[in-house]
Structure formats: C-alpha cells, structure tokens
Symmetry: C3
Subunit: 346 residues, 3 copies
C-alpha cells in the first residue's frame, strides 16, 4: 500500500515520499516497509533512529523524522487501525462440517457451527450455536461446548468436559486429563505399591474464558475442576484437579495451581508463580512472578512475591539483607575498636 493511501484511510496527511508500506512495528523493531508511530516527544531519539518507512506523528510534533511522516490526531489509535489493515486476514470459518470431520450421529450441533478437517466429536456431545471447532480437534464423549466458543486446532477435551459460551481455546489446550493422584505405601510383604486413584470428575469452564496454547487443566477427582467466567489463562499454565477459580481472574504463562485450591474473583497470578494445593487466594489478590504460595492468602495483603510469598516490603527488605549485614559487620568492627580502646584506657 502507498503511504498516501494509508494516510487517506487514517484521515491523516502525508509529508515526505510516498513510500510503499505493508506492516506495522514499534519504533525500535521497525524495518523498511513498516509504519511506526510516536506520540510523546520524549521518544524523539527512537524516532530519529527508526528504520520504519513511515511514522505516524501528532500535529504538534516539530522534531522531524528520518522517513515519511503521516500526521494524525491520535498516533496510537491510527497505528492500531493500520495494524488491522495489514494483519493477516482472519481465516473465515464458515458454518458447516468438513467432510473429513468425524461427528458421532448422537452429537447435537447448533446453528451455524463450523467443524474443521480431521476433527473428532464423539457421542452425545452438544456444540452451541455459532461455535467454531477448528481442524484436528478432539472432543470426547458427552462434552458440552457453549455458543460462539472458538476452539483452535489440536485442542483436546476429554469426556464430560463442559465449556461455556464465548470462550477461546488456543492450540494444544488439554482439558480433562486425569488429575495426579496416587495412593502408595508398602504391602504386608514389604513390597512397594503405587495405586492410581480414579479421577471421576470433570472440568467445567465458565463463559468468556480464554485459555492459552498448551495449557493443561485436569479433571476433578470427584466433582469438578472449575474455571469461572471471564478468567483469562495464558500459555503453558497448569491447573490441578478440583481447583476452583471463581472468575474474572488472570493466570499468566507457566504459572501453576495445585489440586483443590480456590482462587477468588479478580485475582492475578503472574508468570511462573506456583500455588500450593488445598489453600485459598482471596478475591483481588495478586501473586507476583515466580512467587511460591504455601498457604492461604486472606486478602489482608493485596500483592505477594517471593518463595515463600511475602509482602513486597518484606521481600524488598530481604533483597537488601546483604547490604544490611555488611553494614552490621562494619559496626561490629567499630564497636570492637571502641571496646579495645576502652579496655586499654583502664
């Protein structure tokens, strides 16, 4: 697309060469052919060194640019609009079942459902109106998927999984695998045994839940592992059996929640954090990145960090310990010297 054409679409005006542009990128990572944007004069250096072919700038910008400029009222918003123009077209998943999909005759599909190639939908499943089940998905017996839920390729839902409406599951999501549960000990003859505890429950996902690539959520031992409405789960997260996430919470990449723990409303679990089993995280609590939470957080503290998790203030104090100890050592040295002189003085 010509920069002039883009300027027209964005309601801006072009200054400089009418270059060809075909992608968006931040000032630093932009490459020739990219359109970038800047709003704040304090980033003037980044504008000066950008390799973008054109940059979206506000009317008041008077610092120039090393490339074509498109003046627009709101560079951020204009860049989002440009990104939308350049984005790979969202693939159309038209209603209908691909001829290679294997949908059991007892499964009930709502209006306008899309089922992709090589997808398998087993007995007694129910798929809600307008749901998109992409290619190579596996949906086991008796699953229910709500209206407009979008399941990307190569997701697996084990038997009995219940999914609400308007959910998005990215590639490789695994719902309903057996929870990790074993009895072990020694038999009368002294030999060791490890015995699988049957995992008889299900996974139930509320409305509006998004789950990232390769995240795993285990079925309950009995009852349900429950992810409440509007919860947003990132990639490679692990949710153990019988966990309950009330809703409106976020779980960032590679975090994990052990079995039977309850996460309140509006919590945020940051990346790589780990939460022990059989505890509760109160509504609105945030667990910082890489934190390890061994026990219930009752909400009296709103943000914890570290392993074992503590307040930001305590964690900050702990980080400073080496300096404090050095200072103490110096003080002790001084005290000893004073003592020496005191005793010599006698």
């Amino acid at each position: 697309m010509k920069a002039s054409e883009l300027a027209k679409i964005l309601g801006g005006t072009l200054e400089g060469d009418d270059v060809e542009v075909f992608a968006c990128g931040g000032l630093e990572e932009a490459r020739p052919g990219d359109v970038s944007f800047c709003k704040d004069p304090k980033h003037v250096r980044l504008v000066e060194s950008t390799k973008a072919s054109a940059v979206l700038l506000p009317p008041e910008w008077d610092k120039g640019a090393p490339c074509a400029v498109i003046r627009v009222a709101d560079p951020n918003r204009a860049c989002m609009a440009a990104a939308r123009l350049f984005a790979p077209p969202e693939p159309q998943r038209a209603p209908g079942v691909h001829p290679t999909a294997i949908v059991d005759p007892t499964a009930r599909l709502g209006e306008g459902v899309h089922v992709g190639a090589y997808t398998i939908i087993e007995k007694n499943c129910e798929i809600g109106d307008g749901a998109v089940i992409e290619a190579q998905v596996f949906i086991g017996e008796g699953c229910r998927v709500g209206a407009r839920t979008h399941i990307y390729p190569q997701v697996t839902l084990r038997e009995g999984t219940v999914v609400g409406a308007d959910c998005i599951f990215h590639c490789g999501v695994r719902l309903g695998g057996d929870g990790y549960g074993f009895n072990n000990g020694r038999r009368e003859d002294g030999s060791v045994y490890i015995e699988k505890i049957p995992q008889l429950g299900i996974v139930e996902i509320g409305d509006g839940v998004e789950i990232g690539s390769n995240t795993t959520i285990d079925r309950a031992r009995i009852g349900r592992t429950y992810i409440g409405p509007m919860t947003k789960i990132d990639n490679l997260v692990q949710i153990g059996h019988n966990v309950k996430v009330k809703g409106y919470s976020g779980l960032i990449a590679q975090s994990g929640v052990a079995g039977s723990t309850e996460i309140g409303y509006g919590c945020l679990i940051w990346a790589q954090a780990g939460i022990s089993g059989h505890i509760k995280i109160a509504d609105g609590v945030q667990v910082g990145p890489q934190a390890g939470v061994p026990q219930t957080l009752d909400g009296s503290v709103k943000y914890v960090i570290g392993t074992p998790a503590e307040t930001m203030k305590d964690f900050g104090g702990r980080v400073l310990l080496p300096k404090m100890v050095s200072k103490i050592k110096a003080e002790i040295k001084g005290i000893k010297e004073r003592l020496d002189s005191t005793q010599e003085a006698k």
Copy 2:
C-alpha cells in the same frame, strides 16, 4: 437420580426430601444437584453452609444438615461410589483399527488392540495385546508399545521409542524429541557457529508409567533416556536427554530434569522444581516445590527446598533472616549505648 435411589445403591437411608441428585462435590464447592459428604464433626460449619442437595453423613452425626441426608457407614467411601455412578462413562475403546487410521503393513498389532481415528502407526512398530491407541496419535517408525498401555489422543512418539506395559500417556505427551545439544564457538575467520549434535539415542519407558498432559521427554544423545517402572509424571514436565529415572518415583507438574541426571528409586520431585544436569538424586530423596538442585544429593538429607536446595531447617532459618537481622540491629544499638555510657562514666 433420586436421592432415595442413591441411598439404596449405597446401602444407606435417606432422611429429608427425596431430591434429584446428579453429581458429587466437596462441601464448599457443591451446588444444587450435588451430593456431598462429611465424616468429621469439626467440619460442621461447612455442612451448615453447603449448597449440596444431599449430604452423606455417618450414623453418629447429630448436628443436622441444611439439605437431605443419606446416612451411610463410611461417607468417604460412599462418596467415591456415588462419584463413580455420576462420572462421565469411560469411553469404550473396543478392539479394532479405525478405518481412517494409517497403520503400516509392517507394523505388528497384538490381540485386542484399539487404534483410533486419524492415528498413524509407522513401519516396524509393535503394539502389545490390549493396548489402546486413541485418535490422532502419531507413532513413528520402529516404536514398541507394551500390552494394555493406554495412549490418549494427540500423543507423539518419535521413531524408536520403547514403551512398557500398563502405561498411561495423557494428551499431548511428546516422547523422543531431539535433546538440546549444540556445539558452538568461533571459526578461524572469527565467525560464530552453532552446530547441532546428532541425537542418536531413544526414549525407553518402563512398565506402569503414567505421563501427564503436554509433558516432554527427549531422546538420548546416545543410548537411552530411561524412565523406570511405576514412575508417575504429571503435566508439563520436562525430562532432558539421557536422564535416568530408576523407578517408583513421582515428578509433579512443571518440574524439569536436565540432561544425563539420574533420579533414584522412590524419589518425589515437587512442582516447578528444577534439577541440574549430570548429577544424581539418591533413592527416596524429595525435592520441594520450586527448589533448584545444582548438585548431587547423596541421600543423607531426605528433603531439600530452595534455590540452591538446602535442608528444610536451613531454608527455614533463611526465611527468618530478616527478623534475626532486625534483632541484631537492636542489640547493636543497645551495645553502643552501653559503650557510650561506659566511656562517659570514665
């Protein structure tokens, strides 16, 4: 199911309304339609506030309940039995090869093997009697899978993988990917090179091993990456090349073991723990959650925690350091005051 019907099946007696029940759930998470259970009078508050439609209680319970009660001798056991009744039916994977499965003519399938839709079994594979290979699985050339092993959908076994009998592999398990091995340095002309080291070995899994969803186990550089019998591996675990797990051990979710390390019999590696490469963990040692183990553990300590891993006592002491340092600061202040007064006194 009517509560009266359930009571009859469980050999108990119904007190109160003959409500409809269709699932199980713990006292706290239970919802209308659920059966819950309680054994211990100390949980009376949870019984009082449960939303279950019926609760399984022991004969001696005299504290009432806000819903129907089914009296049974052993509430825990009865609830497991009820859970089994309500559980989604375990899908029947009858013997036979689905017409869409692609099984190489040189592959040998034992008696009663199930092969699901869109599964691929390549040349020279051997699948033992009664094994269940579900849908959309990939089994590369020359793999061997033991009798009664159950492989859930979308598992991949790269060429040459050897699997024992009675194993369970959950969705998305990846066995036999190349280990991470590269030579790098600079050529005579100063340019950098990174060169792949061929990964020529295999993965070998003993009998009775269970592997959780999306767990990855790499093939050996030479020889075998070995997971011994009855080892139970949770979801999203990473096992590097040439690791040897002797057997009867557990590796909990998101833990990782780097290349060439050996894990003894009866070890337990807790969630998100990391174990360095080329070391040994002695029989029966437990590595706590999020611990990082940089060197061999000879078994003189049975449980380690922290990064770098140390004894529970040392870790506990470390956690208390800020308090100890505060106390020390107070003591130093006191000492200085005494010194001041001593010197003034002179």
Copy 3:
C-alpha cells in the same frame, strides 16, 4: 551385530569374546548388549563396574575391563560412529504430498517438499524447496515456510506465520497464538469488564532456528514477534508477544520471556528462568537457571542468577548469609561479655 564386525567398521581390534552388541550407552547406564566407551584412566572404576558387553578403549589403556574390549584410536569418536550405526533409522520423508493431506489449491509448494498424512496447509501458504512437513501438522492461511525446514508431527502455525530456511520444529510447537492482552477496569455502573485487545501481528522466525517440543510463541499485538537466525529454543519455553530475539541465542527448557522484551545476540537463557516484559538483555548475557530478571541488563554483567537477578558473586554472598549472621551473633555475644566484664571491673 557381532563385536568383531563393529571393531572392523570402527577400524579397531577386538580383545575378548565376540559378543553380540546392539546399542550404545554410557558406562554407568549400559546394559548387556551395549557398547560403552572410556578414554580417561580416572574413570577406571566405572569401567570395572559397567554392565556393557563391550567397551571402546584407547591403545594406551592398561587397566583391563570386565567385558570385551575394542581398541580404537579415539573412543569418543568411535562411540558416536557406533551410535549412528545402532540409531533408529531416520525415517525417510520422500518428496510428495500424502493423499490424506489437505493442501489448499492456492498454496505453493517448492521442489521436493514432503507433506505427511492428515496435514493441513491452508490458503496462500508458501512452502520452500525441500521442506519436510510431517504428519498431522496445521499450517494456517498465508504462512511462509523456508527451504529445507523440517516440521515434526502435530505442530501448529497460526495464520500469517513466517518461517526461515533450515529450521527444525519439534512436536507440539505452537506458533502464532494470540498474545495475552486485555484491557480491564470498571464501567460507569461499577461493573467490571475484561476486554480482549486484538492481536494483529505475526510471528517471524529466522533461518536455522530450532524449537523444542510444546514450546509456544505468541503473535505480536502489532508488528512481529521475532526469533532471529540460529536461535535454539528448548522444550516448553514461552515467548510472549512482540518479543525480539536478535539471533544466535539459546533458551533452555521451561524458560519464559514476557511481552516486548528484546534478547540480544549470543545470549543464553537457562532452564526455568523468567524475563520480565519491556526490557532488554544485552548481547552475550547469560541468565542462570530459575533466575528472575525484572529489569534491563546492559551487558556490564555477563551472568546473572537469582530472583531478582544479581551477579554470581552477590548471589553467592546471599547464599552464605545464614552463616554470616550466625557468626555475627557469636561476635555480639562476645562483645556483650567483654562489656559486662568492663563494667564489672569499674
């Protein structure tokens, strides 16, 4: 294979029984039928106790062995050669498209491309000469894959992903999933909202990149998430949206990089490390295992470790804190005693 036959192939000479050998293994893990190797006399104990059927030893070795010996000039190199002989044959992926693969007519396939069974290649994709796309892969609309790139089974590339030449993607790799991005807050009526931010960019992978099993790389919000040439990524790694890895770097298993962060050339991110979003890691910096990096590393320190990440020296000092504090307590006790005696003396 007979040991004598192997000796001949390796240009060595057999001493002892002409045993049958069929695999390789290190001295400690070797089993009957294995060939092992030793070069260094200091490992004589491991040779003495090995269960290998034959061991490759150098000419000068005079310490005997409990099994057949094959004398070779360079035992390490000879063992690699033997491993290659015993390795499962690398499956041949001949040029051609499997009849069950679904390749959109608008997709352009180069010369000699292999497309495996049940693989899906959507509209307007371009696959370079000699690329191998194995079975059960999903390649969304408009993706480009470079020459000779090898994609193992059950990988997914979402629409618009761009991949260079000579890459290797292991099973379960997920490229181009939506980044984790939400706006949230409260509406005028007090109700909470969580709103998905459109993820309009792509993933772009340079030449020679290897990506391990079940690793996930998110598409950019706008622009590209970029993995530069020759970067080697291990299993279960998470790369957030708009991350830029310049190239020639390594990211070891279960590490994670949050959104918009830039990793320089020649960096090494060790296992389970986590790197915050919107920061920079300078060229050549190494981030130790389980480290947590909260802010930009400018390259003045070449190796960091711990959470928050610090120098190896500072981390080592921190590890020693409990000992230092114990020593300080002892010193304070001594000081108090001196003070007591000083005051008593008065």
